[in-house]
């Protein structure tokens, strides 16, 4: 296909990153691999010595692993819904964000499920989930939801990449080894930018966006129903579906802002990821934080006011006793800080918004921990056990090693993706002159 001057210029700029690994990226990859190896050592310990090496016990049967699972899957759902909505709304400033959002969706949806597998006592029987599946179980709902979603997200990512693959295949600006050209050629599916092909890709992108947006709502509700379907205080609540939908999107928007900031810094892309982008994503974060705050308030107010005995025990732990500090700080960091930072003009800077996004993402992880662990530590019948590790959960180094390993895998996938394709869609920048800043009122350059 015809590659425009601007596209060639942009690719020239990206060429050093796409053509080879710089020393810096090699060191970064080595560091990540070392962390992953550390995680693998933890996994080895867990397989050889059994689940006893984790902090999980008969009361707190799930711990940091399921928190990570919920976190990564939630972040992934956010990526897909942000990409879908931005695509459907056809806002001009969306261009650099969609690719990043959908990459986030795919990568975290691949990393997340590993953590649920770590909770499972017998990985050797994992395939039973398929051959003996029982549709009544919310775990099977989740298996169906995540696999369906993952297929959708990969398809979405691929559809946003087809035009780019054709450009990488045909451009003279990149000095790629022949095998990579071949890969791009295969992946481009003979895309030549004919009117017909253009229409096909665009219609498909719109369709997948229309599918992904409601799908995210459904699948993140399904995620919440692992907890919501049990008869336990703090979990058994009809608000859990919408609660998780909002929590997922909020945490994912936080992560997305951090990624935008990181790539802007590493690749010096100030002209693509402009301050305006951060402000817009900041507004999205503010709205989500307010909505999340509302749902959280509504959830805890209901159980506190109703003050049923079993509910009260959990509420007590969360707001008065052992978890009150974490509860307080996580509430501040995920609800108050994003609202204050974005609402007040002097604070509404890229750096501050990114800092708020970091606190939102970290705080949301803590919020998930506070949903999972205190409830499991509060069974109906009093715990009368002399073994302290059975009474209170505390994660062991094995669990932290695997958590860090999972996070490193997430970053490694991003590093590899950024080496393989540009982190925003080159095909959407056909007509712009070289490195022009994005005029957000200018809609005519946005390809549909």
């Amino acid at each position: 296909m015809n590659v425009t001057e601007n596209q060639n210029a942009t690719l020239k700029y990206f060429a050093p990153h796409l053509e080879k690994f710089s020393t810096r990226s090699k060191m970064w990859a080595g560091f990540l691999l070392a962390l992953i190896a550390f995680g693998m050592f933890g996994l080895y310990k867990q397989i050889v010595d059994g689940h006893g090496v984790t902090g999980m016990r008969d009361y707190v049967v799930w711990g940091v692993y399921i928190v990570n699972f919920v976190f990564f899957i939630g972040v992934s759902y956010a990526g897909a819904i942000v990409a879908g909505i931005l695509h459907l709304l056809k806002v001009p400033w969306r261009r650099p964000i969609i690719r990043l959002a959908i990459m986030l969706a795919v990568i975290s949806a691949i990393v997340g499920p590993f953590f649920i597998i770590l909770c499972i006592g017998r990985f050797d029987r994992l395939y039973y989930l398929f051959i003996h599946a029982r549709l009544q179980s919310p775990i099977i709902w989740d298996v169906l939801a995540i696999t369906t979603y993952l297929v959708g997200a990969i398809l979405f990512l691929y559809l946003t990449l087809i035009k780019d693959f054709a450009i990488y295949r045909d451009t003279k600006a990149l000095n790629l080894p022949p095998w990579r050209r071949k890969v791009f050629k295969a992946l481009a599916l003979n895309y030549q930018d004919t009117e017909f092909q253009k229409k096909q890709v665009n219609v498909s992108k719109t369709l997948i966006s229309i599918i992904m947006v409601p799908m995210v709502v459904i699948v993140s509700s399904v995620l919440s129903w692992i907890f919501g379907m049990t008869l336990r205080p703090g979990w058994h609540s009809s608000i859990f579906g919408p609660y998780f939908v909002l929590a997922s999107i909020l945490s994912g928007v936080g992560v997305l802002i951090m990624l935008m900031y990181a790539f802007r810094k590493i690749y010096k892309l100030e002209e693509y990821f402009t301050d305006k982008h951060f402000v817009y994503m900041g507004w999205a974060m503010l709205i989500l934080a307010a909505a999340y705050g509302y749902v959280t308030f509504s959830e805890y107010l209901t159980s506190w006011y109703g003050s049923e005995e079993w509910d009260s025990r959990v509420i007590d732990k969360l707001f008065v006793k052992e978890y009150s500090t974490w509860s307080f700080f996580s509430t501040i960091s995920v609800i108050v800080i994003p609202i204050v930072v974005v609402a007040l003009k002097p604070l509404r800077t890229t750096n501050m918004i990114t800092l708020a996004a970091f606190l939102v993402a970290g705080g949301m992880w803590v919020r998930r921990y506070l949903i999972v662990v205190p409830t499991l530590e509060t069974p109906l019948l009093p715990i009368q056990d002399v073994r302290p590790e059975y009474v209170n959960y505390s994660a062991t180094w094995v669990e932290w090693a695997l958590t860090i390993g999972g996070l490193a895998t997430f970053f490694l996938f991003f590093l590899l993706m950024a080496k393989f394709v540009t982190i925003f869609s080159i095909s959407e920048y056909a007509d712009k002159t070289k490195f022009a800043g994005i005029d957000i009122t200018d809609t005519k350059n946005v390809q549909q």
């Binding site: 016990r57 006592g121 009368q384």
Partner: protein, 320 residues
């Protein structure tokens, strides 16, 4: 049909009576360990006369007697289906429990469980500040609307037609969702490989015996259907010195603790039997008789508890 039921009832009563006789020396096949390997049993002690399989009368030291269960093997299909015509039920008389913990240890030795793993546990309960504390033995409730079975993704735990909720440890993937779903903390997980006693039959796993434990899977009280198939009572019932636990069949409307046999519906009616947390809607198959006219003061139970737990529970009582 009614004749059949009558037959069944007679059959059950007969078996119940058999259980009573057996309770004297236990429904046990004796096994004589010669005490080799330096495990010499103390000299002092009573002897008992027993009939050997060869028909000889032998005298054996009491200490050398050990519980050995012969297991009736059933297929996986039968273990999923249940014992036809039965509907097992348990009634626990809270007025009689003094936390002797014999039920706990009998259950542990029958299922080769380590001493810190309890399928059956006895909790100290105090319902409100004013009410008196009482000991609360708790097995699996074998709910008729079991939250654990609902959530199992692979059909490893299931409800049988005779009312039991069992686990097939060969099927269980160890996701522990059932443990999170059970409101009564009944289920335990095999966090590591269990050390089995030398005489444990490691090859004869069945969901009906639940032994040997399998690492990475969930297990729990199974109401001992293997014993029921032999017409015997679960070990927790026969081990209890106070006859706290009654076991029986709701279809036949009969329960027995080994010493006395009662009509289930009558007991529940006359003595205000209740199920724990009826409002959860799980419909347990275990009924409790309120601790009225108690046989023991609650303090009696403390001496059988480990040191740390005694203090903890005393604190709990003081707090109210």
């Amino acid at each position: 049909m009614s004749e059949l039921q009558n037959n069944n009832r007679r059959d059950f009563l007969k078996k119940g009576a058999w259980g009573v006789t057996l309770a004297a020396w236990g429904q046990l096949v004796f096994s004589c360990s010669s005490g080799e390997g330096g495990e010499q049993v103390a000299e002092a002690g009573d002897t008992v006369k027993l009939l050997s399989p060869e028909g000889e009368l032998v005298e054996v030291k009491k200490e050398h007697l050990r519980h050995v269960h012969t297991i009736e093997k059933v297929s996986k299909m039968e273990a999923r289906h249940g014992i036809p015509g039965r509907k097992f039920v348990m009634v626990i008389d809270l007025a009689r429990c003094n936390n002797a913990r014999k039920c706990v240890s009998a259950c542990q030795s029958m299922h080769h469980l380590p001493s810190d793993k309890e399928w059956l546990s006895v909790r100290l309960m105090k319902d409100s500040e004013e009410s008196a504390p009482y000991w609360f033995p708790k097995s699996c409730f074998h709910c008729d609307n079991p939250p654990c079975v609902k959530v199992c993704p692979v059909n490893a735990t299931y409800k049988r037609q005779d009312g039991l909720v069992l686990i097939d440890a060969d099927r269980c993937i160890g996701c522990k969702f059932c443990m999170a779903a059970c409101p009564y903390s009944t289920r335990v997980f095999n966090w590591s490989e269990t050390d089995l006693p030398a005489d444990a039959d490691i090859h004869s796993y069945s969901p009906e015996t639940s032994t040997p434990s399998k690492v990475g899977t969930v297990e729990k009280c199974d109401f001992c259907p293997d014993m029921a198939r032999m017409g015997k009572l679960p070990d927790c019932v026969t081990a209890c010195p106070n006859g706290v636990i009654y076991f029986g069949d709701e279809n036949e409307d009969v329960i027995t603790n080994g010493a006395e046999t009662l009509r289930f519906s009558q007991v529940i009616k006359d003595r205000s039997g209740y199920r724990y947390m009826e409002e959860l809607g799980t419909e347990p198959r275990v009924w409790y008789l309120p601790p009225r006219d108690r046989l023991f003061p609650v303090e009696r139970g403390f001496e059988n508890l480990p040191e740390g737990l005694q203090d903890e529970l005393r604190d709990m009582l003081e707090e109210g």
